[in-house]
C-alpha cells in the first residue's frame, strides 16, 4: 500500500479509492504514475502575458500571418 503520503488531497483521494475497494496493487501503480506526471508539471514555469485560450493563440497567429481564414 502507498506509504508516507503527506499531501492531504492525495490522502483524501487514496481513502476514496480504498473505500471503492480498488485493488491495492492498482492503487500503488496509479499513484506512482500520477506522482511522476505531476512532478513534470511542477518543473514547468508559466510564461508572462499569455492568452486565456488556445483559440486566441491560433487567432493571433493567423492574423499576424495575414491569413484570410478569419
Amino acid at each position: 500500500m502507498v506509504k508516507n503520503v503527506k499531501n492531504n488531497y492525495h490522502l483524501k483521494i487514496l481513502n476514496e479509492l480504498e473505500k471503492a475497494k480498488i485493488n491495492k496493487e492498482l492503487i500503488d501503480n496509479v499513484y506512482g504514475i500520477s506522482k511522476k506526471q505531476i512532478e513534470t508539471l511542477k518543473n514547468t514555469i508559466i510564461q508572462d502575458k499569455i492568452p486565456d485560450t488556445v483559440q486566441e493563440v491560433f487567432t493571433d497567429f493567423l492574423k499576424k500571418n495575414k491569413n484570410d481564414k478569419f
Partner: protein, 469 residues
C-alpha cells in the same frame, strides 16, 4: 458490391440505377455483419434505420448531396438518437456503460445525414477511447486486415479495420493522443486529425474535453477531404469551436506540394523512434523535396514535456468526466483503462489550472517559432513496428504504461499543441503491415496538409493496395 470503391464511384453506381442503392445497402450491412464480426470490429448495425434513411433521401430527390446514398459507419463514441424516443447504444466500448443509450445525435453525424450519407451502425472503440493498441476485452479486439495476428492500433480500431477491409470508404474516429492517426497508419489508411476547434465534438462521448478531436479515416485523400468539408465549421455547443472561413478542400488539395515548405525535426521524433521508422520518414522527406517542396531540417524546442503533460491532461480530464463511474463500477472496467483514468484523480484543481495555462504558453511558443520557418513538418506515426495482438497485451502495470507512452510518442504531442495532422501510408514493413508518415501543419492548415498528402498519395499509389479479405 462497393468493395474498395471511393465515394464518387459509389455515387456513380447509385445514379446508374435506384435499385443499385438498396443492393449496395444490403451488401454493405451483410459485410459489416460478417467480415466486421470476424475482425472483431463491429458493435452493431441498424438495417431498418439505414433503409429509412435511404427512402428519405430518395423521396427528397436532392441528388446533388455530396454523400448521396453512401453507406458509412463510425466509431461507437458518436451518439445517435432516433425518433420515437429510441436511441443507439452509447457504451463507450465498456461493460461499465452496458445498455446505456445515446441522449442526442452528435453534431457531425447530423451533418453527414444532411449530406446524404446512410448511417449503418457503430464500430468498436477501445474502452473509453483510452488506449493506443486497440485491445478491448468487452467489445472485442479488432484484428488488422493486413495480418490478423496484429493490432489495428487504437482507439478508433474498428473504424480502421472496416475501412481498410474496403466495406465502406470512410469512417469517423476520435483523436485525443493519436486515436485516428495510429489505427489509420496501422491499417494503411489516411487519418486526419483536424486543428482543435475546426470540427464539433458535441454529442461525442468525451475522454478529454481539451484534447478530443474528430476526424476521418479513409482509403483516399479525396474522400478524407470530402468528409472534412462536411463536418468542419463553428458549433455553438462546442466550447472550443472556432469560426473561420473554411477553404474548398477538394480544390485546394489539387494544387500540389510545390513550394510548400516542410521541416524535418530530428530531435525527439526521429531520435525517439526505431531506425526502420526514422529511415522511412527521412526517405519520404527526400521524396517531398523531389516533388518540389522546400525542405529544411528544424528543431522543435522542449517538445519532450508535451508527451508527459498530454498524458496528465488526458487522465485528469478523463477522471473529471468519469471518476464517479470508475469508482462505482470498477469491477466492470478493464484494469488498464481503470489505471489510466484513476491516474488523473490525484491532480488538484490548482494543478489542473496550471496544466492548462502552461499548455497555452507552450503552444504560443512552438507555433510562433516553428511555423515562422516552415509550413508543415514531417514525423513518423508509430515509433516502432506495429506489434502483434499477443505481444502488446499487458496487464495494468508499469510495462503497459510504458507501452502506451511509447506508442503515442509521435502523435500525442500534436494533440497537446492542438495542431492539425495527417497520417499517410507509403509502404509495408517486414510483417506485411503498412508503414506511414505523419505531416503536421500550422493552425487551420488542413488545406496544405491535404495538398501534400494528395501529391504523396499519387507517388505511393497506395489506393491500389488491398488486404486479402
Amino acid at each position: 458490391m462497393i468493395n474498395f470503391k471511393s465515394i464518387s464511384e459509389i455515387k456513380d453506381l447509385i445514379f446508374e440505377n435506384k435499385n443499385n442503392f438498396f443492393k449496395i445497402l444490403e451488401s454493405t450491412i451483410d459485410q459489416l455483419e460478417s467480415i466486421g464480426k470476424t475482425l472483431n470490429a463491429l458493435r452493431f448495425t441498424d438495417k431498418d434505420f439505414a433503409i429509412f434513411q435511404g427512402n428519405k433521401i430518395f423521396s427528397e430527390k436532392n441528388f446533388n448531396l455530396p454523400l448521396f446514398g453512401v453507406p458509412l459507419a463510425h466509431k461507437e463514441l458518436f451518439q445517435r438518437k432516433l425518433k420515437g424516443g429510441q436511441a443507439w447504444p452509447n457504451e463507450g466500448g465498456s461493460e461499465s456503460r452496458k445498455n446505456l443509450l445515446s441522449d442526442q445525435t452528435a453534431k457531425v453525424i447530423s451533418l453527414l445525414d444532411k449530406a446524404g450519407s446512410i448511417d449503418c451502425g457503430r464500430l468498436v472503440s477501445v474502452e473509453y477511447a483510452f488506449g493506443v493498441t486497440g485491445h478491448n476485452e468487452y467489445a472485442g479486439t479488432p484484428k488488422n486486415p493486413w495480418n490478423r495476428t496484429y493490432v489495428c492500433g487504437g482507439s478508433s480500431s474498428g473504424s480502421a479495420a472496416i475501412v481498410a477491409s474496403g466495406i465502406i470508404p470512410v469512417a469517423l474516429g476520435t483523436d485525443t493522443g493519436g486515436s485516428v492517426r495510429l489505427p489509420a497508419s496501422a491499417c494503411g489508411l489516411f487519418g486526419l486529425k483536424p486543428t482543435q476547434g475546426l470540427v464539433s465534438r458535441d454529442g461525442v462521448f468525451p475522454l478529454s474535453t481539451s484534447l478530443d478531436t474528430v476526424g476521418p479515416l479513409s482509403r483516399s485523400v479525396e474522400d478524407a477531404a470530402k468528409v472534412l468539408q462536411i463536418i468542419s465549421g463553428k458549433d455553438k455547443n462546442d466550447n472550443l469551436s472556432v469560426k473561420i472561413n473554411i477553404p474548398d478542400f477538394l480544390t485546394e488539395m489539387k494544387k500540389g506540394i510545390k513550394k510548400i515548405s516542410i521541416g524535418l525535426p530530428k530531435n525527439y521524433f526521429l531520435e525517439g523512434s526505431d531506425k526502420i521508422v526514422s529511415d522511412n520518414t527521412v526517405k519520404v522527406f527526400s521524396i517531398c523535396e523531389k516533388l518540389g517542396a522546400f525542405t529544411k531540417d528544424i528543431r522543435i524546442p522542449n517538445i519532450e514535456t508535451a508527451n508527459d503533460l498530454n498524458m496528465l491532461l488526458i487522465s485528469t480530464e478523463a477522471a473529471l468526466s468519469h471518476k464517479k463511474i470508475a469508482l462505482e463500477k470498477n469491477k466492470s472496467f478493464n484494469q488498464q483503462t481503470l489505471m489510466r483514468i484513476l491516474s488523473g484523480v490525484f491532480t488538484s484543481s490548482e494543478e489542473y489550472k496550471k496544466l492548462k495555462k502552461y499548455r497555452i504558453g507552450f503552444i504560443k511558443n512552438i507555433v510562433s517559432k516553428v511555423f515562422e520557418e516552415v509550413d508543415l513538418f514531417i514525423t513518423p506515426v508509430w515509433p516502432c513496428l506495429i506489434p502483434s495482438i499477443k505481444e502488446s497485451d499487458f496487464g495494468a502495470n508499469d510495462k503497459a504504461a510504458h507501452l502506451v507512452r511509447r506508442i503515442g510518442h509521435n502523435t500525442r504531442p500534436i494533440n497537446y499543441l492542438g495542431l492539425p495532422a495527417i497520417s499517410i501510408p507509403m509502404g509495408f514493413d517486414e510483417n506485411g503491415l503498412p508503414l506511414s508518415i505523419q505531416l503536421v501543419g500550422k493552425p487551420f492548415s488542413e488545406d496544405l496538409l491535404l495538398r501534400a498528402a494528395f501529391s504523396l498519395e499519387k507517388e505511393f499509389c497506395f489506393w491500389d493496395k488491398k488486404p486479402k479479405i
